[in-house]
Amino acid sequence: MEISDPVPKLLLQLISSAFQRCRLSEDLCRLSLLLHHQSTGNDPPITSISIADTGIGCNLVEFQDLRYPRELNGPKIWDGLLSVKTTCFSDDEVFCYHINLDEYISNKRIKRQPSQPKNGAKFSGTEVSLTVFGSMDALVAPIISFFQKMLVLQLPNVTMDLVVKQGDSPSTQNQYVFVVNADKTPCFTASNLERLKSGLEDYVLRHGNCLDIMCEQCFSHREHLKVGSGIACPEENRKRPGRTMEVVIVISDLLETTRHCSRSCEGKTEVLYFDNFSPSPIPQVALSALKKIDWKSYGLILASVNDQEGHVFLEWENFPSYVQIQIALHWYHNKYPTRQKTEPGINLVKKGIKSALDDLKTKHEGFLLSSHARKICSYVPDLARSLAGLIFSSTDMDFQGDCLSVLGFQPQEVEREAVEDYIQRKIVTVIGMNESKPQEAAPLLFFEAGSETQYFDDEEIESEYYSSFLLE
């Protein structure tokens, strides 16, 4: 018998709470999870679970909302009893409670147990433990995945580890450590968004944080990643500031040689969602937002949005499979903890995503262009060639010199190719800029005080040379 779904969900909630307690601490903290399978003699087997953190100590209110994870049909796998020990820095003792989640009457839920003295030691922390029937095989993967995602937030003061013990022999013990790579990560003073960007980059480079180091088979340089980020705040922030939607998008070219790396998403885009510094299933509203983004204006054609129990993947119609897009959304309130759970509005999510896309576009010319702009860009090499041709074929050296200096080249050092390249890049940049900027009229090649100006179309009089008076 395995421990079935409801339990992991409860566990993730407990871990998340522990993580928050660490996060809010100003010191380095540790979050340890122990899964101990006491297989010896017992049938059904018993797994004891302990979640210990060195965070700021817990508030019993946190447990108020926990519900007993009920299996509709099936044997009872847990008695519903959480054993909680917690102490704040300023406390003199460690408080102990038994919390029976199977108890409906709330004031009967929590039973105070005798406290343990701290003996003057100054520390804070919490340990929550429980014992369930069944093997823990189904528990390990979601917990690892949770920790891996947690790392994306790159909170530098929290180290996480998971110990899985089979029986009592130390040889059957596995330990997983989840720690932010300190030398590569932003310092403590970095903003949440900066950390998220860095975290998502790492996440991509390490194949979803599965690896300890960057996968060099897939990515040769960190610089090959294109990262864009955006922030969106709700309108009412003016009155009650603090809520923020942060979006980071990382686009990476897989190396030619390892395009078919088994760990890649095959061109699918994983969307990570964090709700108040905690990995979270994506809410419906964000899902809708993802569907409603005008991807086409970024040259993307969305094929489908697959929601596999909170794990969301976007599929594209027109993107080469070796290009990977990774999206992370983080919705949080600066003043944590707040008990009031909120959801972002759909426009807020869209705004955040678009702002991240626009950021990408701005930073990378010719990137994420709409199909219209890409079509225009396809003309650019030709145009650049003609312009360079005009410059270099001219016999008027002054003119050539003027052109080159306008473009910032030194006359002596100039190769035609470089000029052509430069013009091409410039034009592409302008095309990209035009896309994101609200259209404002471009200047005319010759400054003229024309009367009405309109875009021409095919209606114009046919350019027959020997045309008659009648064409008037």
């Binding site: 145009l383 074929s393 302008v430 090649l445 010759f446 009367s451 009089i461 008659s468 008076f469």
Partner: protein, 380 residues
């Protein structure tokens, strides 16, 4: 508002025209275009300049009714169309303009001229993605003309001309002997397509009239009969609808000899009148290139008055095409009342007559006919 509109008619400010430039000046205009583009492109607020092309639509055409002069003309005003790289509709045309400019620039550098067909092939091979038909090339050339305000000829493109001249005229091209156009045979002297050359040709004449002939064959007849010996005149034909060179030449004549009346002998049908009007008023189709070549052409024949000279059987029913042309002519604001009346008569009678119909009075009748008309001052 009204006043402002009428003000426009009397100033040259609001007309757009294409200059005839020597090659180095045409090249300079292209260079300025490149520099302007680059400047804006590499400025702090970078942009891709739009091309402002003179609007070649009918709606941008204006009529200059000569009040102080006898010359009325049709011209393009200064309304623009914009060709922009970032506009999907115009992006390709935008690139074409530059491609054509580049090609013309090369041609000018080589000191050569090309035909539009050659230009087409050059562009077809150089940029097959942009040019797949002659029409696209022609249009882009027009765009370049509208952008640079210089004539197609100035861009190094040869113009073919069908114009011929004969009679009491002597033409001396720079560095050559003068040609006596009364002695160059019944085929006449061909008017060069080289506008610069035409501009620099020394013209002398003791003629008293310039007679514009619609048809090549009639021109040939009049010259063969040496009608200019009896009527001191110069004959000009464009063999149908005039090309720019012929109009340019006629205009030069009218400037050089301002007192010579220009009399047009055309078929009595709407197409004949349209040809006359093209000489007289210009056409929007020639756009920027030719409004300045409008001449004060008078209509000597054939006209409704002459129908009694023509046997009934030589009157042919108007074809649908004729009626179409007539309709279009009538809708023109510039057409003067007595021309309108002639048109109405054609429509009323449903008939047309060719100049050749006068041959029923003998092949030498044409000369007498013209002489009579001139003596009686019967031209309108």
């Amino acid at each position: 508002m009204e006043e402002e509109a009428s003000m426009k008619f009397f100033s040259d400010q609001n007309t757009s025209y294409a200059d005839i430039l020597p090659p180095h000046e045409a090249r300079a205009r292209i260079e300025v275009s490149v520099l302007n583009l680059l400047r804006v492109l590499n400025s702090t607020d970078p942009a891709i300049s739009d091309l402002s092309l003179i609007n070649r639509k009918r709606s941008n055409s204006c009529v200059n009714k000569g009040i102080l002069t006898d010359v009325s003309y049709i011209f393009l005003s200064t309304s623009f169309t914009k060709s922009s790289l970032t506009n999907a509709k115009t992006a390709k045309a935008f690139v074409r303009v530059w491609k054509v400019m580049e090609m013309c620039f090369q041609i000018l550098l080589q000191g050569k001229r090309v035909t539009q067909r050659e230009l087409f092939y050059k562009l077809l091979c150089d940029s097959p993605d942009y040019f797949s038909s002659q029409l696209e090339v022609n249009r882009s050339v027009q765009d370049v003309v509208a952008l640079l305000r210089c004539s197609r000829f100035s861009l190094g493109i040869m113009a073919s001309t069908r114009g011929l001249v004969a009679g009491r005229l002597s033409l001396q091209e720079p560095g050559k002997e003068a040609v006596d156009c009364s002695a160059c045979g019944s085929s006449g002297f061909p008017i060069s397509g080289d506008l610069n050359l035409l501009d620099n040709t020394i013209i002398t004449s003791d003629a008293r009239y310039i007679i514009l002939v619609e048809k090549h064959a009639i021109f040939h007849r009049l010259v063969e009969d040496r009608v200019f010996n009896h009527i001191p005149c110069v004959f000009v034909t464009a063999k149908g609808y005039p090309d720019i060179a012929t109009r340019f030449f006629l205009h030069r004549m009218s400037i050089t000899f301002p007192h010579l009346p220009i009399l047009a002998l055309v078929d009595w049908n709407p197409a004949g009148l349209a040809i006359l009007c093209t000489f007289k008023f210009g056409s929007v189709g020639m756009g920027l290139e030719a409004y300045r070549y409008a001449c004060n052409v008078k209509w000597i024949g054939l006209r409704g008055d002459d129908l009694n000279l023509i046997p009934q059987e030589s009157l042919v029913p108007l074809k649908p095409k004729d009626s179409q042309i007539a309709k279009s002519l009538l809708s023109s604001k510039i057409l003067q009342e007595n021309y309108r009346e002639e048109l109405s008569l054609m429509i009323e009678t449903g008939k047309r007559a060719e100049i050749e119909a006068l041959y029923c009075h003998g092949y030498n009748y044409l000369g007498k006919y013209i002489a009579t008309k001139i003596v009686q001052g019967k031209y309108i």
